[in-house]
Structures are given as structure tokens and as C-alpha cells.
């Protein structure tokens, strides 16, 4: 339905475009729309799209850092580098590690964020700002400070093992164990990111109308039942948003591993992003670009899958 259709014949506009009033007005509106979009599109095109396209092209060549001065004197290798990634045992290990981070870390972080949001939404009024800011601080705190404290917690004689000692459990050397290092880092990442989810879920919880809850209470539903059958379904779009944001972030898991364990021990905390970072450091730009775009494909696929699974069913 166009504006021309809603304008009564008697107004000033009526006589303007006698032959095809709809088409010309539509064209003008399209032009106006593009004008609105133009500043963004220009900057986006130059500073985001073009580097993206050239790095994508690079991933099909054997571009190395020594080639920058003469970019076209490289060999086109097609999909060879993508294939080489899959036959690289270190890359395969990094894929598995990243997968573990994603599939274990996302539910954990979402549960923590949801628990916090529910707690903060349950009618507490005092200290609310303290709690909100407090739980969000890890999101903005530098990884350096976070790493120092977490190492203090996870050391063989650190806080965690001391506390385990109180209940008679002898804790292992968390960060030096090939089986426990990655789970420890996952917990650390969840702690760092639960603040973002808490904020998103708080926002979502506030969209659940109070009347629905009250109606359910009148019907005698327990808090647990109300949560499962009313709150959670209504939170679906919020959960989706949280899951997608986390997927994008966790698939690019890098910082915690870089600062705490440097990818070790024995590559058990090496992620795809870390592998890519190393390749860029070696100057193998083409190879590293291929790894990055493979990661991008994974992000896109996972997001798509989540949209399908968590889409609003109404």
C-alpha cells in the first residue's frame, strides 16, 4: 500500500503524477531511503566490505607476509588451503576444543545469567544498582587483572583447592592438566560473560506481563511451574538473542586461553582463533584467512541452527 493510495483525491498531491502516481513516488521514496542509508553504506563498504572481500580472496591463494608489496604475484590454490586445514592435526584439535567451549559454555553461561536475572527480578529493591553493576564488571574488566585472580584461584595451592581441602578433597593442578584446563577456562569465560546475559535476560523478563503470572497464581501454580510454563516460553526470543551472541563470542574463544595457558598444556586449550592468530604471526596470511572464513561459516551455521530451534512459535 503506498502513500498515494491513502491520499484522498481532493488534496494538493492528487494532481501531481497523473500517469503512474505509484511508480514515481515509489522511486522517490526509494531514493530517499538510500540517502538515509548512504553514510553508513559508504563507510561500511570501504572499511568493512572491501577488506573482507580481499581477505576472502586471499584465502584462496598462498599469500604470505612477504608478498604484501606485490600482492598479485601469488599462486591461486583454490580450496587447497581449506583442505590443508582439515588434514592439520593441530587445527582439528583446535576445532574440537572450540566445540567443547561452545556446547558446554553456552548452556552454562545462559543458566548463570538467567539465574542472576531471575534473582534480580524477584522484587528486590535495595542494592539493585550495586548488583547490576557488580555482575557486569567482569565484562568490562581487563583480561590481565581477571587472569591474575583466576590463576590465584586455580593454582595447586590456590583458593579452590584450599576450599576443597576443607571438605577433605585433594584438588588437582587445574591449569596444568590436559583434561581439566579447558573446563576451568570455560568456567572462567562463563563468569566473565554472564553479566551481559544477565542484562539481556533482565530486559526480557520485564516484558513478561504481570497479569499472566497472577492469573497462574490464582490457578494455584507453583513458582517452579510458572517459571517453566510461562516465563521460559515467553523468553524464547531473549534466549535466542543470548544464545546467538554467545555463539559468536565463544566460537572466537581466544583471550582466556592466550593469557592463562597459552594454548597448553599440549594444545588442550588451543582454539581455532588461537590457531589462526599463530598463523597470522607466521605471516601465512592466505592460510590464516582460510581458517578465519571456516570459523565464520561455523558461526553462521550455528546461528542459523539456533534460529530454527528457538524461533518464536507464535
Amino acid at each position: 500500500m503506498t502513500i498515494a493510495d491513502t491520499i484522498p483525491a481532493g488534496t494538493a498531491r492528487a494532481g501531481r503524477d497523473p500517469v503512474t502516481p505509484g511508480k514515481a513516488a515509489r522511486r522517490r521514496r526509494g531514493l530517499v531511503a538510500w540517502l538515509f542509508a548512504l553514510p553508513f553504506v559508504l563507510i561500511f563498504g570501504v572499511f568493512m566490505l572491501m577488506p573482507l572481500i580481499s581477505s576472502f580472496a586471499m584465502s584462496f591463494t598462498d599469500f604470505k607476509s612477504s608478498d604484501v608489496q606485490d600482492p598479485f604475484a601469488v599462486n591461486f590454490v583454490g580450496l587447497d588451503q581449506y583442505a590443508a586445514l582439515f588434514t592439520n592435526p593441530q587445527f582439528r584439535k583446535s576445532m574440537i576444543n572450540t566445540g567443547i567451549v561452545v556446547f558446554a559454555g553456552i548452556p552454562l553461561t545462559m543458566a548463570a545469567g538467567l539465574a542472576l536475572a531471575v534473582a534480580l527480578n524477584s522484587g528486590i529493591t535495595r542494592l539493585r544498582t550495586v548488583f547490576r553493576v557488580g555482575f557486569y564488571t567482569p565484562v568490562v574488566t581487563s583480561i590481565v587483572a581477571v587472569a591474575v585472580v583466576w590463576r590465584f584461584i586455580l593454582q595447586p595451592d590456590g583458593l579452590l583447592n584450599t576450599m576443597l581441602g576443607w571438605i577433605g578433597v585433594s584438588g588437582p593442578d587445574w591449569l596444568n592438566s590436559t583434561s581439566l584446563a579447558l573446563p576451568s577456562l570455560i568456567v572462567m569465560t562463563a563468569w566473565r560473560n554472564m553479566g551481559t546475559l544477565m542484562v539481556i535476560f533482565l530486559a526480557g523478563l520485564q516484558t513478561v506481563p504481570q497479569e499472566v503470572h497472577e492469573a497462574a497464581m490464582v490457578d494455584g501454580a507453583t513458582p517452579g511451574q510458572r517459571f517453566r510454563q510461562i516465563t521460559l516460553p515467553m523468553l524464547r526470543p531473549t534466549l535466542l538473542l543470548g544464545a546467538v551472541l554467545l555463539s559468536v563470542a565463544y566460537l572466537q574463544f581466544f583471550e582466556e586461553s592466550f593469557v592463562m595457558t597459552k594454548g597448553g598444556p599440549l594444545d588442550s586449550t588451543l582454539s581455532v582463533s588461537y590457531f589462526t592468530y599463530n598463523q597470522f604471526g607466521f605471516g601465512k596470511y592466505g592460510f590464516a584467512s582460510a581458517a578465519s572464513y571456516l570459523l565464520f561459516a561455523a558461526i553462521a551455521l550455528l546461528s542459523l541452527a539456533q534460529f530454527r530451534a528457538l524461533r518464536s512459535r507464535d
Binding site: A73, V74, N176, L266
Partner: protein, 424 residues
């Protein structure tokens, strides 16, 4: 759907364009003819200079003397953080925004050599340590000059060593291990020595042992990696034995300040580090701690060879003020300036005669450094080294933490290195 088809079409088109335009030329060797000599006379114009960290902070004061000696010249120093400096140089070379002169870590020379100006014949480096000069040679040509040097020696607690019955440094490998053990049994320390158990940069820290056992990483003409040799395996076996026999901690803490703390409180009375570590130890240990520890050369097996690092000064090919840049480099390589630089920063001079100055010759710890610098080697200067080194780090970690047999690990490393190539 329309937009999906256009997307696919765009990608295909881009792909074809890329394929059409690409292809390495048949260029073979890059011709670097003899470097043009530096014009005579005083320097003039503006010289842009990049330096990292502390060097970058202290250079502006130092170069004022150069500016005084060469009126009409202005030196602009930009300090770059060490963190990500490698990225910075990579992108600067890519974008053509390199300065005239830069401080280049010795391990980075091979990575960026194609962007450097070859050293002109008139620049004199005869008075510098041979080991340091080795790092400036890439693919048969010389780039830049050594600026300051860095090496690795063994730090040890003299008071605890005396308790363990060692009043003078051990001469051989067997003595060395015996000393480490004795520190545990007789002086009651928790560990004998702090050694890198694998992971990032660990292989590089084990190189002194490798070289001291007569092993070399490449063959004579640098065309092939020679990692799978009995000498290398024996060196790594020796290294492994410290962990296997409980003398070194497999799970040593990498937290900030942990090594210093352990050395100061005596739980780990020996470690391997660079001369710059002295400053940190003195800060951690407080006043008077300096008398409680000493440094010694690596113990001798076939030789007592250590690692040489540091930084070189390079002039870029695209330098806007080449002649003045080389003059500045020559000035910074003069013995007196080298000594002054040591006094300002603690960086050890690359020029041997600069060490004759009392501030350097009088210090017993520095004597050890100079002594060690007479027998040092640097890792191969080729673009494949960082990758081979990373593969070696992984193998070393297996050797230390999983107890893998060094010979088997080296076989695997050799095949990795062969597939990585020599970056020629």
C-alpha cells in the same frame, strides 16, 4: 531467490578475477646488488626512528647529542609497545609506512628482511661480537647492524650453593646436575632449578643445551633442517632428566612474578635468564639481595654455548632519508655511545671495546656475561624458524610432560620441519 543468485554470481566473478590476476612470477633469486655507499658529510633533514619499550623511551634524550653534532638534522623517535610490535611492523611494511630506522629484535630479522636496506660496505662492524653479527645475515646478505646484545646465563643462589657444597660454579654437565640435586638434598630447597617445561618459546630456552652438546639445527649450507640427530637427542635427554628425576618442576607456575618470588624465597635457587633479570631480582629481593646470588656460564659438555639475542638497528629500503639514517646507525654503534647507552638503559653493548669502561668491567656479574658472549649462537635466520620453533615447542612439551622418548619426538619434529621447509 534473486539475492541468493546474485550473491553466488558475485563470488564466482571475484574468484575468476583473482585466479586470472594471480600467479607467482618466475623470479628465482631476488637480486640484491651491492648496497650503495653512504654519502659523506654531516647528516641533515629529518630521521624517523621506531623503537620498542624502554629503548623507545630513552632514545630521545640520547639522540640529542647526535643532533648537536649534526646541526640541521632532527631525529623523531616513536616508541612502540613490545606487545604486538611484530604486527605493527608487518602492517607498516604492507602499507608502505615504514620509518627510516627501526629497532629490530634479532629473531625478527628474517621475517622482514625483504624490506630492509642492505648494509653499505662503509659501515664498520669489526669491533662487534661475532655471535651478534650472525643475526644480521639473512640469505647471504647483511642487513642493519647489531645494537645491543642479550644472552642467557644461569642464575644461582650463592648462599644456598655454598650450603650444598658448591662454592664455585660447576664445570661439566654432570657436575651441574649434581649441584642441582645437592641444593635439594643438602640445602633443603624444594626444587633444584627452574626450567621451561614446554609450550611457547620453550625450545628456544633449551637451545644452549642443544648447542653445548655439539648439535646444530641446520646443515652447513642452511639448506636442510638437521633436527633428528643423536647429539640433539642426547641434549634433550639431559634436559628431560631434570624433570624425570624431580629436580625441576613439570608444572612450574607461569604467573607474573612467580619465578622471582621462588628465587628470592629459595624454593627454586637456580634459573636461566637474561641480564635484564638482575634488575627484577633486585627489586623483588630488596636491598642487600645482590650479594646472595651470582651468575655463571652454561656448564660445558662439548662446549659452553649460549643463546644470543638483543636488537639490531635496521634501515628500511623505503627510507626517506637513507644517508642520514645510516649515519645515525653508525653513531649509535660507536664505543662511547654504546657505553653511554648501557649506563642509561642497562642494555649490553654489541661493541666489544665498550665493555672496557669501568662501569662494565668492574662488575663481576657482567664479567660472566661478557665471557659467555664469546661463545654464543643465534637461531637460523630464515622465515620458517618461528613455525619450526613452535613445532619444537610442542615436541618439547611432550618430552617433558608425557615422558616421550626424545629420539622419537625428534623424528616427528624432523618430518614437521621438512614439510614446513626453510622458507627460502
Amino acid at each position: 531467490m534473486v539475492h541468493r543468485r546474485t550473491c553466488l554470481g558475485a563470488v564466482l566473478l571475484a574468484g575468476m578475477l583473482v585466479a586470472a590476476g594471480c600467479g607467482r612470477g618466475d623470479d628465482g633469486s631476488t637480486t640484491t646488488g651491492p648496497a650503495a655507499p653512504v654519502a659523506s658529510g654531516p647528516a641533515s633533514g629529518t630521521i624517523t626512528l621506531w623503537a620498542q619499550g624502554a629503548e623507545g623511551e630513552k632514545l630521545p634524550a640520547m639522540v640529542k647529542q647526535f643532533e648537536a653534532a649534526n646541526p640541521g638534522v632532527k631525529v623523531e623517535v616513536t616508541a612502540i609497545p613490545w606487545d604486538a610490535a611484530h604486527n605493527k611492523y608487518q602492517t607498516a611494511i604492507a602499507g608502505g609506512t615504514t620509518p627510516d630506522v627501526a629497532q629490530m629484535g634479532t629473531t625478527w630479522m628474517a621475517d622482514f628482511a625483504t624490506a630492509f636496506d642492505p648494509t653499505p660496505g662503509g659501515v664498520d662492524t669489526s669491533g662487534m661480537f661475532d655471535g651478534a653479527k650472525g643475526a644480521t645475515q639473512v640469505n647471504g646478505a647483511t642487513y642493519g647492524v647489531p645494537w645491543y646484545v642479550d644472552t642467557r646465563v644461569i642464575y644461582y643462589r650463592t648462599d644456598l650453593a655454598a650450603k650444598a657444597g658448591f662454592s664455585s660454579p660447576p664445570a661439566t654437565w654432570d657436575d651441574f646436575k649434581a649441584m642441582a640435586k645437592a641444593l635439594q638434598t643438602k640445602a633443603g630447597t624444594k626444587w633444584g632449578i627452574n626450567l621451561n617445561p614446554g609450550g611457547a618459546d620453550s625450545f628456544q630456552s633449551a637451545l644452549p643445551f642443544v648447542w653445548s652438546n655439539g648439535a646444530s639445527l641446520m646443515n652447513a649450507d642452511n639448506s636442510k633442517w638437521t633436527l633428528d640427530t643423536p647429539q640433539l637427542a642426547d641434549a634433550l635427554k639431559f634436559y628431560q632428566s631434570f624433570f624425570a628425576e624431580g629436580i625441576a618442576d613439570k608444572n612450574v607456575s607461569t604467573a607474573a612474578g612467580a619465578r622471582e618470588a621462588a628465587f628470592v624465597n629459595g624454593s627454586t635457587p637456580m634459573l636461566i635468564d637474561a641480564p635484564s633479570f638482575i634488575g627484577q631480582l633486585n627489586q623483588a629481593g630488596g636491598a642487600g639481595f645482590g650479594s646472595k646470588y651470582g651468575v655463571m656460564r652454561f656448564p660445558k659438555q662439548q662446549s659452553s654455548t649460549s643463546f644470543v639475542g638483543g636488537s639490531d638497528l635496521v634501515v628500511f629500503k623505503k627510507a626517506k632519508n637513507r644517508d642520514a639514517a645510516w649515519k645515525l646507525v653508525q653513531w649509535l654503534s660507536g664505543p662511547k655511545v654504546q657505553t653511554d647507552w648501557y649506563k642509561a638503559t642497562g642494555d649490553l653493548p654489541a661493541v666489544e671495546s665498550a665493555w672496557d669502561d669501568p662501569s662494565l668491567s668492574g662488575d663481576p656479574k657482567l664479567k660472566v656475561f661478557k665471557d659467555q658472549l664469546t661463545d654464543v649462537k643465534s637461531p637460523p635466520a630464515n622465515t620458517a624458524w618461528t613455525q619450526v620453533s613452535a613445532a619444537a615447542d610442542t615436541q618439547l612439551e611432550r618430552i617433558v610432560k608425557s615422558g616421550t622418548d626424545p629420539a622419537a619426538a625428534l623424528k616427528a619434529l624432523q618430518s614437521s620441519a621438512d614439510s614446513i621447509g626453510t622458507g627460502a
